[in-house]
C-alpha cells in the first residue's frame, strides 16, 4: 500500500480566539500550531495501514515554510516522507488548494509509485470548506467517501477497501470502493499515538521535498473575519448542590420536557 495523507497547518486556538486589529486573520502571536484532530487521525490511519499491509506513506501540505513543523510531526509517528507545497502563508481557497494538490499528486505518481489511498481530514479546522478531498478525487477520477470512521483494506489482490461512516439519524453505512481511492476521515477512526523521542529525532533529520505551486484564483475570497456576537448571557443560578433539584425540575416542567 502506497498512501498519501494531506494535512493543513492551523493555529491551536484553545480557549479564546483573538483576531488581528484589521480582522484579516487570527492573532497567532501567542499560539502554537497543529493540524485538525481529523487529520491527526488520518496520519495515524496511514501509519497503521502500512504497519499492517506493508508499503510506504507520505504526508503533503500546502502552506508556509513553517508548516514543515506539521510534516515533521507526522514523520515523528511513522510517516516515511514529506512534501511541502510552499506558499507565502495566506489562505488559498478550496479550488486553488485542490488544483495545487492534484498537480503535486500527478507529479509524485509520475516519478514514483501511484498512491493506492489518499487520505484527508473530513474538513479543515479553520476554514471548514468540506471539499478539498472531494475535488482532488474528482480531478483524479477516483472514488471518494467522506466522514469515514472505520476503514478496512480488502484482502491482498482484491484492490478494494470498505469505508464505514455514521448514517444520518443513527447507525452506520458502509461503502465498498475500488482502489485507488480518496477517503476523508473523522476523529474517532482511531486514537492517534504520541510521537516517541527517537521518532522525533529521526523526523528532524529527514528531507522534505519542496515545490512552489502557482495560485489560480478560485472564486471564494475572504474579506474579513469577525467573532460572532453572543449575547453575554448571565446564567440564572438555580441553587447550590442537591438543594437546587426542585428548582431544576420546575424548569424542566416549564420548558415542557418533563413527563413524556
Amino acid at each position: 500500500m502506497n498512501i498519501l495523507v494531506c494535512v493543513k497547518r492551523v493555529p491551536a486556538t484553545g480557549g479564546r480566539i483573538v483576531l488581528t486589529p484589521d480582522g484579516s486573520d487570527i492573532d497567532v502571536r501567542f499560539l502554537g500550531f497543529t493540524v485538525s484532530p481529523h487529520e491527526e487521525c488520518a496520519v495515524e490511519e496511514a501509519v497503521r495501514i502500512v504497519e499492517a499491509h506493508g508499503g510506504s506513506s507520505s504526508v503533503l501540505t500546502l502552506g508556509p515554510v513553517a508548516a514543515e513543523e506539521q510534516l515533521r510531526d507526522a514523520m515523528a509517528i511513522g510517516i516515511d516522507r514529506a512534501v511541502l507545497l510552499e506558499t507565502d502563508g495566506h489562505d488559498w481557497d478550496p479550488v486553488a488548494t485542490a488544483e495545487a494538490i492534484v498537480e503535486a499528486i500527478r507529479a509524485q505518481e509520475a516519478a514514483g509509485d501511484p498512491f493506492d489511498l489518499i487520505l484527508f481530514g473530513n474538513e479543515s479546522a479553520d476554514s471548514g470548506g468540506f471539499q478539498v478531498g472531494i475535488r482532488v478525487a474528482f480531478a483524479l477520477h477516483r472514488p471518494c467517501v467522506t466522514g469515514v470512521k472505520a476503514l478496512r483494506i480488502g484482502d491482498a489482490g482484491t484492490r478494494t477497501a470498505t469505508a464505514r461512516r455514521e448514517a444520518p439519524g443513527g447507525g452506520w453505512e458502509s461503502f465498498e470502493v475500488t482502489l485507488p481511492a480518496v477517503i476523508s476521515v473523522k476523529e474517532g477512526i482511531n486514537l492517534p499515538r504520541y510521537p516517541s523521542v527517537p521518532g522525533r529525532l529521526r523526523a528532524k533529520k529527514k528531507d522534505i521535498e519542496r515545490s512552489t505551486p502557482a495560485e489560480r484564483p478560485g472564486g471564494l475570497e475572504k474579506i474579513v473575519l469577525r467573532l460572532p456576537q453572543r449575547e453575554a448571557t448571565v446564567a440564572e443560578v438555580l441553587g447550590q448542590g442537591a438543594d437546587a433539584a426542585p428548582a431544576v425540575v420546575d424548569l424542566l416542567a416549564r420548558i415542557g420536557v418533563l413527563g413524556r
Partner: protein
C-alpha cells in the same frame, strides 16, 4: 429576470428535514430579491418526491423537480451530484442552495467539483449583487468569515440551526416536474453497500429533545451512570465533551463539538463541562442550556441560561430523585 434559485430538499420520514427548510428559507430570500423563480429539487427517489410535495405548500416554491432514474437512490452521492450538475446546465440557475450537514456539504462539494466552480459551505447570510457577498462559519461557527463568492452559478450550503423557518404563506402546492438524467456507471460506483443499526438502542443524540452531557468532571466511564439515569427519566440521550471520548469514557459517536456532533435539543444539561470553544460550537444551538459545575466561573457559564453550582455526582442524582418523587405523587 434572472435564472431561478434551486433549493435542494432532502426528506426525513417523508417530509423535508429541518435543515432543508432552513436552506429553502435562504433560497426564498434570494428568489424574492432577484425576482426569480424558486424551484425545489427533491433529493429522493421519484415516488417519495411526489409524495412529499404537499409539504412544500406555503413555501413559495413554484416547481418541485423530481429526478427520475431507476437506479439513483440517496445512497449515491456522485449520482446525485451528476444529476444536479445536469439540472444546473439545463436550467441555468443563479444559485443552488443546500443544507450544511455532513451529507449536504458532501453533495454540494461534489457538484462544485463537477462544474469546476467554487462552493461555500455553512453560510449564514447571502447578499446577491454585482458580486455576491456571504457570511459563513469558520472554526465550526466560533468565527464568522465575510467573503465574496464569484461564480456563474453560486453553490452554497446553509449552516444548520442558524436560520428561522418562516410561517407558511398562501402559496399553492408546487407543480411536480419529473426530470430524467443520464448517469454513467462511474456516477453510481460510490454507493452504500451495507447498513448496520446503532450498537445501542434508544433515541439518537442528534434527535433527542433533552441531552445530558458530561465532561472531565464526570471522572470516569462509570460516572456516566448518573447522567444515563437522568437522560432515561427525561426520554433524552447522553453525550460528552472531547475529553470524555478521547479518554474512552464514551464512544466517539457521543462527542458533542467541532469534531463530533452539533446538537439542537430543547435543553442541554452540561455536567462537569468547563466549556472549551470546541465543545460550545456543538451545543450552542440548544434552546436552553443548564450548566452543573463546581466552578461558578467556568466558561460554560458564559453560554448557559441556568446554572447549578455543585458537584454533578450530588446534583444529578438529586434531580433524578425529585423527578421520581413528583411522578409518584402524580400517580
Amino acid at each position: 429576470m434572472s435564472g431561478p434559485i434551486l433549493a435542494l430538499i432532502s426528506l426525513a420520514g417523508g417530509v423535508p428535514d429541518r435543515g432543508s427548510l432552513e436552506a429553502l428559507s435562504v433560497a426564498r430570500g434570494l428568489a424574492v430579491a432577484g425576482d426569480a423563480a424558486l424551484e425545489a429539487v427533491l433529493v429522493a427517489d421519484a415516488p417519495a418526491a411526489r409524495a412529499a410535495v404537499g409539504s412544500l405548500a406555503g413555501s413559495g416554491v413554484t416547481t418541485a423537480i423530481a429526478i427520475e432514474h431507476e437506479t439513483l437512490t440517496t445512497d449515491h452521492p456522485d449520482g446525485w451530484a451528476a444529476a444536479i450538475a445536469q439540472l444546473v446546465e439545463r436550467r441555468a440557475p443563479d444559485a443552488v442552495v443546500g443544507v450544511g450537514t455532513e451529507r449536504g456539504n458532501d453533495l454540494m462539494a461534489r457538484v462544485g467539483a463537477r462544474l469546476s466552480w467554487p462552493m461555500a459551505a455553512n453560510c449564514l447570510t447571502v447578499e446577491p449583487g454585482e458580486r455576491w457577498r456571504l457570511t459563513r462559519q469558520r472554526w465550526a461557527g466560533s468565527m464568522i468569515e465575510e467573503c465574496w463568492l464569484d461564480a456563474p452559478v453560486r453553490l452554497l450550503t446553509v449552516a444548520p440551526n442558524t436560520v428561522a423557518i418562516p410561517a407558511p404563506d398562501g402559496s399553492a402546492v408546487p407543480a411536480v416536474e419529473p426530470v430524467s438524467v443520464t448517469l454513467v456507471d462511474a456516477d453510481l460506483a460510490v454507493h452504500v453497500t451495507s447498513r448496520e443499526a446503532s450498537e445501542r438502542g434508544g433515541i439518537s443524540l442528534g434527535d433527542a429533545k433533552v441531552v445530558v452531557g458530561g465532561g472531565r468532571g464526570v471522572g470516569s466511564g462509570e460516572g456516566f451512570s448518573d447522567l444515563e439515569e437522568l437522560a432515561g427519566l427525561l426520554g433524552g440521550a447522553v453525550g460528552g465533551s472531547r475529553v470524555v471520548t478521547s479518554a474512552g469514557w464514551r464512544p466517539h459517536a457521543d462527542q458533542i463539538g467541532q469534531t463530533g456532533l452539533r446538537i439542537a435539543p430543547d435543553i442541554y444539561i452540561a455536567c462537569g463541562i468547563s466549556g472549551a470553544i470546541q465543545h460550545i460550537v456543538g451545543c450552542k444551538a440548544a434552546k436552553h442550556i443548564l450548566a452543573i459545575n463546581t466552578d461558578a466561573e467556568a466558561p460554560i457559564m458564559g453560554v448557559a441560561d441556568y446554572a447549578v453550582i455543585g458537584d454533578l455526582h450530588t446534583v444529578v442524582p438529586a434531580i433524578s430523585a425529585e423527578i421520581r418523587r413528583r411522578a409518584a405523587v402524580r400517580a
